[in-house]
């Protein structure tokens, strides 16, 4: 019985097409594949520059962040970068009526390789980021705000499709993390 259960697990595991993982869980070939990540021309320069700052141990000490990678075999097919903004400025909190100690999470980069579009992978990365943010906020009640800035109107339409909202004529999306 135990053996059959184990082989079932192995079978399921090999069937899995995609895996979610953190930077230090990437295999050497997946790490290498970051350079071959395919994006639209207008985002490529930013992505390449982004590669040079992530991961940065010093930066991570000063500014906590998480990069969640979506991989398929030996390739990175998508990723989402989330950063923690500890204690928003007082002036801002006063303006919008937030408690004196309020942290926020920003989704600052979400992308899916051009060759893997059309499989709702971006949607799942976004929802996973929302779900993890909600979990973090439950454990850390001072973290009550999630926001992201869409790169352009096309990206903004993507976020709107999944229920996120923004002020009129703005690319900034805001979502409460508390219940």
């Amino acid at each position: 019985m135990q053996e059959s259960h184990t082989s079932q697990l192995v079978e399921n595991s090999s069937h899995n097409q995609f895996q979610l993982c953190h930077f230090d869980e990437l295999s050497p070939s997946q790490l290498k594949s970051r350079k071959d990540f395919k994006l639209e021309e207008q985002y490529l320069n930013i992505y390449k520059a982004f590669l040079s700052i992530l991961p940065d141990k010093e930066l991570r000490k000063r500014k906590p962040y998480t990069v969640l990678y979506l991989t398929s075999h030996e390739k990175i097919v998508g990723f989402v970068v989330l950063k923690l903004i500890q204690n928003l400025p007082n002036v801002f909190k006063k303006k919008v009526g937030l408690p004196s100690k309020t942290d926020a999470i920003q989704i600052c980069f979400l992308a899916v390789d051009l060759g893997f579009r059309g499989q709702n992978l971006g949607e799942m990365l976004l929802l996973e980021a929302l779900s993890l943010s909600k979990e973090y906020a439950s454990d850390n009640p001072e973290c009550s705000v999630l926001f992201l800035q869409a790169a352009d109107e096309t990206a903004a339409k993507f976020y709107e499709k999944y229920g996120l909202e923004r002020p009129k004529n703005s690319l900034d999306f805001v979502y409460p993390l508390h219940d």
Binding site: Q17, K63, E135, Y136, V174
Partner: protein, 117 residues
């Protein structure tokens, strides 16, 4: 002195527009570092500035704080006073997430899930 375009300009335009003018003492220090790193000086400077600029954009600049008009602030106050579960579209999508992941063959590589750990 190093010059690079502001985070706002970078967001609006192409990062390659950045200038790479530096003073003599910085140039000499960079030349030594570039030699150790096996890069040309201009390439090294370009990468160093790019790294600083990107750090500013993604880890220092908080665009949310630039919402200033009364209309935007009123919207923000209302939004932040609502609850996570008030948004039915998001809640429905999140309920479907595990099923969607299963159908797409997505799983976590390890049990590590928490953010900022």
């Amino acid at each position: 002195m190093k010059n690079y375009v502001s985070p706002q300009e970078q967001r609006d335009g192409n990062i390659s527009r950045m200038t790479t003018r530096v003073d003599r003492s910085v140039h000499d220090a960079v030349a030594r570092a570039a030699k150790i790193g096996g890069l040309s000086i201009s390439k090294y400077i370009e990468q160093a500035i790019l790294k600083q600029a990107l750090t500013d954009i993604y880890f220092e600049d908080i665009s949310l704080l630039s919402l200033k008009s009364d209309e935007e602030l009123a919207w923000l106050r209302t939004k932040l006073n609502s609850k996570f579960s008030d948004n039915n579209v998001v809640m429905q999508k999140l309920e479907q997430l595990e099923g969607m992941k299963q159908r797409a063959g997505i799983s976590y590589k390890s049990t590590r899930r928490k953010l900022f750990a």
